[in-house]
């Protein structure tokens, strides 16, 4: 085109002006400079768990025994699924159980469909940490929409790696595939695991060779299509559309359209429950609490996924152990401050379980977390405060570890109470909490009285023997002149009247002793000055 600017700029001419401004090869049509609106192309990831029925029953154990799954209540049971060790022995699906037993030592587990469904729900909950659009695909898969999460997780590869690692930690074996439509992702995950297809236009080529059975159609439809000579999905696609709709149902056409992306396939999103509740049935009974650690770790993995997905923190974990009669034993793990640090919780669980003695053998372990708080904004610390960075976290971790190993009351703080009686003048408190009734001596205004108090107080005053009318403790005690008389009011329940003295032992130590004023006038040791 001649490079001359038109004198009048009309709307249609504006485009050509822009076109001339862009240098382009002769003959090629210039692209308009106005950028096209960018639409987000969804990318679906399907997780296929072919061994779900077996994994859900064996993940509570350590995975070292050969296990097979059978259908319960059948007269001549057949092996449905076998785990790694059983497969190594040569056991395959479809083999009669009696034959399988001949091949080696086996653990036989009966299929539990309710547990499978619960496990699928748990997996959906766990997967919410990767994306907010998760949908279960019964009976053994779930699908995630991951295009929105790719940036956060640093790319598809990184996301897949985290997903694989997480599933391994939970104890599941899974195959996956990524495709632009959920149905295509499901097909690929079952037939060609680990396939990644990003472009919708490549789908027909990728799916063309897959057999028709991959579609999981009804048997009648499948047989009818088979009679037509349709073997693969490519053949199916080439059939005329109206004919297909008339001969079979329009639903088949719709299914194919959804598969190849010509029609939208909205999936119902998974709604997480308000509280977390999960349990693992152990493949065999355990009678030592240490063996529960594997199952506990898996449950904590699920909890971590749930907390991350819901942006929540928790402060209390409620565990329960179920024995074979259904009896429950509960114990709590409390954290000093809300967190979702799985490693920290695992450490506390390990400490607690190491010290636990089981009264009866345990068949299942469960975890309930109802105490959820939403995540707070991080503490705004002063940039220049030295060494205070880890203040809150350091104390919380220390306190949790100590309480988990040594008991709830292992860690205490001290406070001063305004009381005359020496043993009542101090009190225990929870560290870091409000002091409450406790004050300091300065606040009490006791500055006027210069009283010396011993640094150590005995838990209970120790009765002293008297020899030659002198109190005796590892030698005769010499009393320093000067006494303090403490008398509590007569209206108090335990009224006391004591004369307190400082006494020096034969070895040079200083003790705080008192003598009762009434009654038997006995001598007691109450404290030690240091």
């Amino acid at each position: 085109m001649a490079a001359s600017l038109p004198t009048t700029i009309t709307r249609s001419a504006r485009l050509s002006v822009d076109a001339e401004a862009v240098p382009c090869a002769r003959g090629a049509s210039p692209t308009p400079a106005r950028p096209a609106a960018r639409t987000r192309a969804p990318l679906w990831l399907h997780l296929h768990l072919p061994h779900l029925a077996l994994d859900v029953l064996t993940r509570g154990g350590d995975g070292e025994r050969a296990c097979v799954l059978v259908e319960p209540g059948v007269r001549r049971p057949q092996v449905l699924l076998s785990n790694r060790h059983a497969a190594a022995l040569g056991i395959r699906a479809g083999m009669p159980l009696a034959a399988a037993h001949a091949l080696g030592q086996l653990g036989v587990l009966e299929r539990d469909e309710r547990a499978e469904q619960a496990a699928l729900v748990q997996l959906c909950q766990w997967a919410l940490q990767f994306t907010s659009e998760v949908s279960a695909v019964a009976p053994d898969g779930l699908v995630l929409e991951v295009d929105g999460s790719l940036k956060l997780f640093g790319g598809l590869e990184s996301l897949l790696q985290q997903l694989r690692g997480g599933l391994r930690r939970l104890g599941y074996r899974a195959d996956y595939a990524v495709a632009p439509t959920p149905l295509a992702a499901a097909l690929l995950a079952r037939a060609r695991p680990r396939a990644i297809v990003r472009d919708k236009n490549q789908l027909p080529d990728c799916l063309a060779h897959l057999p028709l059975t991959a579609l999981r159609l009804e048997p009648a439809v499948q047989a009818a299509l088979g009679q037509l000579g349709v073997r693969t999905l490519g053949d199916c696609r080439r059939l005329p559309r109206n004919g297909l709709a008339r001969r079979f149902s329009p639903l088949l056409l719709e299914h194919l359209d959804r598969l190849f992306g010509q029609r939208a396939d909205p999936r119902p999103g998974f709604e997480p429950p308000r509280r977390f509740a999960s349990a693992i049935e152990l493949p065999w009974e355990v009678d030592s609490a240490r063996a529960l650690l594997v199952a506990g770790e898996r449950l904590l993995g699920e909890l971590g996924g749930y907390l991350r997905g819901s942006s929540a923190l928790t402060q209390r974990l409620r565990w329960h152990l179920v024995d074979r009669d259904g009896g429950r034993e509960c114990f709590d793990l409390a954290l000093a401050e809300p967190s979702r640090d799985e490693q920290h919780m695992l450490l506390l669980l390990r400490e607690t379980l190491m010290r636990k003695r089981l009264a009866v053998p345990v068949r299942a372990i469960g975890l309930d977390v109802a105490d959820l708080t939403s995540q707070r904004a991080p503490h705004m610390q002063d940039l220049f405060t030295p060494r205070r960075q880890g203040h809150a976290e350091g104390y919380a971790a220390f306190a949790d570890r100590l309480r988990a190993r040594c008991g709830e009351r292992a860690l205490r703080g001290l406070g001063v109470l305004p009381q005359h009686r020496p043993e009542a003048a101090f009190g225990w408190r929870r560290p870091l909490l409000n002091a409450g009734r406790m004050t300091t001596l300065a606040e009490q205004g006791a500055g006027g009285r210069q009283v010396r108090r011993p640094l150590w107080l005995l838990e209970r005053p120790l009765r002293l023997a008297v020899r030659d009318s002198q109190p005796w403790f590892e030698g005769p005690l010499a009393l320093v002149p000067g006494r303090e008389r403490i008398q509590s009011s007569w209206w108090e329940e335990e009224s006391l009247a004591r004369d307190y003295f400082t006494a020096i032992t034969a070895r040079g130590g200083r003790l705080w002793v008192f003598r009762e004023l009434g009654g038997a006038r006995r001598w007691y040791l109450h404290g030690i000055f240091e």
């Binding site: 001290l414 108090r453 130590g509 240091e530």
Partner: protein
């Protein structure tokens, strides 16, 4: 080879020249003078050996406890033999809100420490926000746990004060500093109580120094 050349060699150092040790001032001028670095080491174990109880071992560290607690660091008492009396600590200047007591369900009696106590000591020493951890161990604690405690104290930058009976003075110990306390003879009746502090082990040339407080 002259003496200068020998001194230049890597691997040779003079007893008096050591890198300065970070310390907390003890609060007693006489004691500061005889300790390396002029105070309690900020990261490491200090053993205080006493022949009998009640002669003033805790009083020795009280100024440091007061200073550390007022600065906002935690003071952890691991399984103390008796109850630390709060009014007395308060009168001594310790901020009670920073005092933590660890009470363990099992107490060791005569021989050997419970594993629980040693574990709790190690946790307290590793706790970064704890400035001082006070521990009471017996004479028969083997050397390996003591070494672990020393390493934990260095890792957590905590001063670990270990009170032990004087009978273990002859044993070797990995602590950075070891002091022996006794009441000077002939002064039993005096108040305030006189105390004689002798340095059994210290970095540098302070071994054998004494002071009277």
């Amino acid at each position: 080879m002259t003496l200068q050349e020998l001194m230049q060699r890597a691997g040779m150092w003079r007893g008096g020249e050591l890198p300065p040790l970070a310390t907390h001032p003890t609060g007693f001028a006489g004691l500061d003078a005889i300790l390396p670095g002029g105070g309690w080491p900020q990261a490491g174990l200090v053993e205080i050996l006493t022949a009998s109880s009640g002669i003033g071992a805790l009083r020795l560290v009280l100024p440091m406890l007061a200073a550390a607690s007022r600065a906002g660091d935690w003071i952890v008492w691991v399984d103390p033999p008796h109850i630390p009396y709060a009014p007395a600590l308060d009168a001594g200047g310790v901020a009670l809100s920073r005092v933590l007591l660890v009470d363990l369900p099992t107490r060791s009696t005569a021989s050997g420490e419970d594993d629980e106590i040693l574990w709790a000591c190690e946790q307290a020493l590793r706790f970064a926000d704890c400035a001082v951890a006070l521990m009471w161990l017996g004479a028969t604690t083997p050397a390996l746990p003591m070494r672990r405690l020393q390493l934990a104290a260095e890792a957590g930058a905590t001063t670990g004060i270990v009170f032990r009976p004087a009978t273990c003075a002859a044993q070797s110990s990995p602590a950075l500093l070891r002091l022996a306390l006794e009441t000077p003879a002939g002064e039993e009746g005096s108040t305030p109580l006189a105390l004689e502090v002798k340095v059994i082990k210290a970095r540098g040339t302070h071994h054998g120094a004494r002071c009277r407080l």
